[in-house]
């Protein structure tokens, strides 16, 4: 009788232990503690920044009719002149002025491009347009026929000639807005518009033969009050190349990667939902989500590697 009771007790205990073990094995997973943030919406501007030089938008260069020597100068650099005003008086050049002609040619190559006109008179140089004198030959200087010797520009209209690295050239288009700053002009930001992007890239080569980065020339017209700028100033150009209004963004820590696919874990009814996402721009603290998560979704920050789709989660503060 006693043995039978012992057997029954032992069997019952064994059964209970087996059931407890089975229940322990199949217990639901404990909720994982996670921190969340909300997917928000914000406007995203993408920009590229490169350097350039301020120049007058309407610059006119004047070339003498024949080789001559400057006999007299009737104005000065920086003075405003009217169209037709006599600027210089010329005298016929002596023979053998080849060296001076080469020098004049070299100097003219240093000038930035602009409109070039030839003087009507071979004895005087008259202002072809009204404006401010930017450069003048000196008395006794030889000026060569066909090569610019003085420049006049309207300083009321300035533009920026910039060199964009080839890497960014593909994202530049005419009509894009830009901000221009110049260290000489303080912290003033000038509005600009990209007028033209050169169809060719140019690679600068130094005198030692080392080649630099290939660049594409971009012309930007300045708008608004440009009183603080002068032709020749170095400028920093920030061109806004892209604009995404109402873009969905999440904190950087919310984006994880399994293999080569990026994911964001959202919390829905206490369950982690794995969402495959396509990311866009990376801002300072947030990443743009192009596709996969909608605004307002609660996203898990720094999801652990063990977190899987469907895992119960507990949101902590």
């Amino acid at each position: 009788m006693r043995n039978r009771a012992r057997a029954v007790l032992f069997t019952t205990a064994a059964l209970l232990s087996a059931m407890l073990a089975w229940a322990w094995q199949n217990r639901p997973p404990a909720a994982e503690s996670v921190q969340t943030a909300a997917a928000t919406v914000q406007d995203i501007y993408n920009s590229v920044t490169f350097s350039g030089t301020v120049e007058a938008a309407d610059a006119t260069a004047l070339c003498p009719q024949t080789n001559a020597v400057v006999a007299a100068v009737h104005t000065a650099v920086g003075e405003t002149v009217e169209q037709g005003e006599v600027l210089c008086t010329l005298a016929p050049a002596a023979d053998g002025g080849a060296a001076q002609a080469v020098q004049a040619a070299w100097e003219s190559l240093q000038e930035t491009q602009g409109q070039t006109v030839t003087a009507d008179d071979d004895a005087v140089l008259r202002a072809p347009v009204s404006g401010t004198v930017l450069s003048l030959p000196e008395i006794g200087e030889t000026v060569a026929a066909g090569l610019p010797c003085l420049r006049i520009a309207d300083l009321g209209r300035l533009r920026v000639r910039a060199q964009a690295p080839e890497l960014y050239a593909g994202s530049l288009e005419s009509g894009q807005r830009a901000n221009v700053t110049a260290s000489a002009a303080g912290e003033t930001v000038y509005g600009a518009r990209l007028d033209r992007v050169s169809p060719v890239a140019v690679r600068a080569v130094s005198l030692t033969g080392q080649s630099g980065e290939a660049t594409v020339e971009a012309l930007l017209s300045l708008s608004g009050d440009t009183g603080g700028l002068r032709p020749g100033y170095s400028a920093t150009v920030k061109v806004f190349t892209d604009f995404h209004p109402d873009a969905v963004v999440v904190p950087h820590e919310a984006v994880c990667q399994r293999g080569e696919q990026e994911y964001v874990f959202c919390v829905q009814d206490g369950i982690a939902v794995q969402c495959a996402v396509t990311t866009g721009y990376m801002l300072e603290t947030v990443t743009e989500i192009v596709d996969g998560v909608s605004a307002g979704a609660a996203v898990i920050l720094s999801p652990p590697d063990t977190l899987t789709d469907g895992t119960p989660v507990e949101v902590t503060a």
Binding site: L167, E253, V255, Q257, R258, M282, E284, T287
Partner: protein, 390 residues
């Protein structure tokens, strides 16, 4: 006499003078505890150092040119001929280094770019955390791919796995986009938190992105076969490059494996040195036990005489005092080891190896028995009549 009776007597003797017993046990506890602390911390440090040296990943030989002369550059082409020309070499890989910066989004970090090829995994022990190392096709065709460290990945993207993501490299005055093909454990993490923040990030690029096969390589990593003698191979490399290669400058060969082994040996030596210092503490404690046992034997002279008179053997007296000193040291060692173990766990979450603790316990007991040997022998040699008269 039975062992049980001897144990009871020994325990009773210890209880008779609790202050002396406690002080002796305390000195043994300090000695044993100090040894455990030194052994545990020393071995932990040694393990960490070896793991850190492994993390750096460089082993074998590194070859570079020192100074300038009039000769050929140590080019990748010349380096590739080393493996055939010098016996004992398994793999050779030229390395070209340039500095620049890496940018992704708004994050930017300075980096050192190392030109490598598909042999990178053979000459450096890199732990790949995501993606893969450079392949032969990527290296030969100068594909814009990069292998970066996990710390750089965290700095740029906030996570380790960024394979397939694009980073902007500023290199040679130009900006170029590269795709991350692999992420490895950062080798500069071996330097520790503060120093690793100063060390630059290493980015591995295809060699042809940084230099042509004819241009001078900054270093050549050489991995030798296990059975080759590194010093012999070093000499052969120097001879080959100087005489056959006619390289520009003095050829220097550095034994990285030897340096790592030397660092490991020095770490072991330091641990042994500290253990020796700890052992002095235990010896001092055992001298205290010896003095205590001598005093106890002197106090018990009359009792020893009575024991001998009623039939106890001299060996019983010897065993009595040996047991007494062994019990004393056991109690002290157990307390000291427990206290040190608790301290290690509380302060550094370190759990000392149970084998070290067991060995120290046995050592303490044996040394305690040895310390009690002289008093035991002296007590056993007493004449019963003289002892009782005393």
């Amino acid at each position: 006499m039975r062992m049980v009776d001897l144990l009871r007597l020994a325990a009773g003797n210890l209880r008779e003078n609790p202050l002396r017993t406690a002080l002796c046990a305390l000195s043994v506890a300090v000695g044993a505890g100090a040894l455990l602390l030194i052994a545990a911390i020393g071995l932990f440090g040694q393990t960490q150092l070896q793991a850190a040296l492994r993390t750096i990943g460089v082993s074998g030989l590194t070859v570079y040119l020192d100074g300038h002369g009039s000769g050929n550059p140590l080019s990748a082409e010349l380096a590739d001929t080393l493996a055939q020309a010098v016996s004992g070499i398994d793999t050779v890989m030229p390395i070209k280094a340039k500095t620049g910066s890496v940018r992704a989004g708004h994050a930017s970090e300075n980096a050192v770019f190392l030109g490598a090829d598909e042999r990178l995994g053979e000459v450096m022990q890199l732990e790949v955390l995501a993606g893969s190392l450079l392949s032969a096709r990527q290296a030969d065709s100068a594909q814009p791919v990069a292998v970066i460290g996990d710390e750089l990945a965290l700095a740029l993207y906030g996570r380790v796995n960024i394979t397939g993501r694009t980073i902007l490299l500023h290199l040679d005055g130009r900006d170029q986009y590269f795709t991350v093909c692999g992420v490895v454990r950062a080798q500069t993490s071996a330097l520790g938190g503060a120093l690793s923040s100063f060390a630059p990030h290493l980015v591995y690029l295809p060699y042809s992105c940084l230099a042509t096969p004819q241009q001078n390589a900054d270093q050549v990593f050489v991995q030798c076969s296990a059975q080759s003698d590194l010093d012999t191979v070093s000499g052969q490399i120097q001879k080959y490059l100087t005489e056959r290669g006619k390289v520009d400058g003095t050829v220097r060969v550095q034994n990285m494996t030897g340096m790592v082994d030397t660092a490991g040996r020095m770490a072991s030596l330091c641990v042994l040195l500290f253990l020796a210092v700890g052992a002095v503490t235990l010896i001092v404690a055992l001298i205290g036990v010896l003095c205590s046992m001598l005093a106890a034997a002197h106090e018990k002279t009359a009792e020893i005489g009575i024991l001998l008179a009623i039939g106890a053997q001299p060996r019983d007296v010897r065993r009595l005092f040996l047991l007494q000193s062994a019990l004393l040291c056991t109690a002290g060692a157990v307390c000291g080891l427990a206290l040190s173990g608790g301290l290690l766990y509380a302060a550094a979450s370190l759990v000392p190896d149970w084998r070290i603790a067991a060995a120290l316990l046995v050592l303490s007991v044996c040394c305690g028995a040895a310390a009690g040997l002289l008093p035991a022998v002296r007590a056993a040699r007493l004449d019963p009549i003289d002892a009782m008269r005393n």
